[in-house]
Symmetry: C2
Subunit: 244 residues, 2 copies
C-alpha cells in the first residue's frame, strides 16, 4: 500500500490532505477515489486513509484507523560515519535507513578528504534528510532517521559513548570481535562508528577508547568505508533479533 510521510499539520481530526510533491506522486501512482493509503507522522504512528477527493494540487483523505508502526526496530542503533568522499555518505544514509538505523551521524576525521564547510553543510543536510525520508517511505518504516553532522571527531565520540552499547570499528583491531562485544550483555541503544576512506588514526582510536567506546573488528577482510557501517548494522540488528 502506498505510504506518505506527512507533518502533523496535514492531519486534521479524521481528515488529511496531501499537497505539492506528494499530491503529484499520488497521481503518478494512478491512485483514485476510494483507494487506501497509509500516512505516517514520521514519529512511529501510522494512519490508514481512504482517498475521498482530488482537486488540482491536492488529495483529500479520510482517516479510518491509526496504529503504531510495526516496522520500527526496538533497538535504537545510531550509525556514526567519518565524512567519506562524494556520494558514499548518501549511499550509507539510504541503506542504513532501509536496514533500520535510528539516526545517521557524520563528522570529520583526521583522514576525511571531504570536509563540508558550514554553508555547504546546510544544503547537504537538507539533501541527506530527503534521502532518509525517501528510503524510510520506500522501506515501510514508521520513523525517518535524523541525519546529523557534528563538528569534530571528539564530539562524535562523546555523543556515541552515551549509548548503552558503543563500538568503533578499526581494521587493525584483532582481539575483540563484534560478536563477543554484542553478546556480552543486552542493550536497548547502540552506536556503531566507522571511519572515512583512509581509515581511522591511532590517536582517534585512543580518543574513542578513552571516552568508553569498545574497539571492535569486523573480521580480516578490509571493508570499504561505505560497506563497513552497513555490515555492522546488519549484524547488530540480526543479533538483536530485529531481522525477523
Amino acid at each position: 500500500m502506498p505510504r506518505f510521510f506527512v507533518s502533523s499539520a496535514m492531519l486534521q481530526g479524521s481528515f488529511a490532505v496531501l499537497e505539492g510533491e506528494q499530491a503529484a506522486h499520488a497521481k503518478v501512482l494512478r491512485l483514485g477515489r476510494g483507494d487506501e493509503v497509509i500516512l505516517c507522522d514520521g514519529q512511529g504512528l501510522e494512519y490508514r486513509c481512504i482517498i475521498s477527493d482530488f482537486s488540482p494540487g491536492q488529495v483529500s483523505l479520510v482517516i479510518h484507523s491509526q496504529e503504531a508502526s510495526r516496522a520500527e526496530p526496538r533497538l535504537q542503533c545510531s550509525v556514526y560515519m567519518g565524512f567519506p568522499k562524494a556520494d558514499k555518505l548518501e549511499h550509507v544514509i539510504q541503506k542504513a535507513t532501509e536496514l533500520g538505523a535510528a539516526e545517521i551521524v557524520a563528522f570529520p576525521c583526521d583522514r576525511s578528504v571531504s570536509r563540508p564547510d558550514r554553508k555547504s553543510l546546510e544544503k547537504k543536510l537538507e539533501r541527506w534528510q530527503k534521502i532518509a525520508a525517501s528510503a524510510a517511505e520506500q522501506s515501510g518504516r514508521g520513523r525517518i532517521p535524523e541525519v546529523l553532522a557534528l563538528n569534530s571527531f571528539a564530539e562524535a565520540v562523546q555523543r556515541a559513548a552515551q549509548a548503552e552499547f558503543s563500538a568503533l570499528f578499526y581494521e587493525n583491531e584483532r582481539t575483540l570481535s563484534l560478536k563477543a562485544a554484542v553478546e556480552a550483555r543486552p542493550f536497548a541503544t547502540a552506536a556503531i562508528m566507522t571511519g572515512p576512506e583512509g581509515g581511522l588514526t591511532e590517536a582517534e582510536v585512543r580518543t574513542a577508547q578513552d571516552a568508553g567506546m569498545q574497539v571492535c573488528s569486523l573480521g580480516p577482510r578490509i571493508l570499504r568505508c561505505e560497506t563497513a557501517p552497513l555490515c555492522a548494522l546488519s549484524a547488530i540488528l540480526y543479533a538483536a533479533g530485529e531481522l525477523a
Copy 2:
C-alpha cells in the same frame, strides 16, 4: 601491503613476474626495487615477494615465503540473486566479495526486467568476474569468488538447495526468521537467495520450498533488492563468527 592476484603461470619456483596491467599498476603505486608485495593465486595461497627488478612492462619478484590466506571465511556462503536492473548486480558482486561470499550466482526470475541473452551474458560475466577480482584484491581476500549465471530459477533453486543451509528471503514470510533458521544447527556451506526489484512470485517461493530451501524473513522493513543479499550475508557471516 600491495596485493596482486596472479595465475600460476606467473609463479616459477621462487620467482614471479607481473606483466601488463599489473606491472602498470605497480608503477602507479610507485613501488620500487626492494619493496614487498603479496601475490595471491586466487585459490587461497599467498606468496610474499620482494621486487627484484623493473623492465618495460614487467616487474620481477623473488618469492620469500608462502602461506594460506587468513582472510578467507571458513563458511562457504553463495549469494544467489535474481537478475536486477542495470548496475545493481555489479554493486552486489563488489560488496558480497568484500564481505566474504564464496560465489555470486545470478539467474532470471519471473519479475526480472533485465534478462541478458547468451551473447551479452558472455561479455557481462567477464566484466562481473573482473569486479569480483578487483574487490577481492582490495579487501585482501585469498580467493576470487566465481560469478555464475544460470538459465532459470528452477536451476538456481536446485543448485542452492545442495548447500547445508539454504534460505530464500521473501518479504511476505512472517514466521521463520533468519536467526531461527541459522541457529537451528551448524553448517559449513550456505546459499542465500533473493529476488529482483519486483520481488519473487508465490510460485517461485513454492518451487524453492519444494526443492528443500527454507523460506525466511529479513524483518518487517522492505529492503531494496540490492540491500537484501548484503544484509543477509553480513548477518550469516556474523552468526558464523566470521566477522572476527
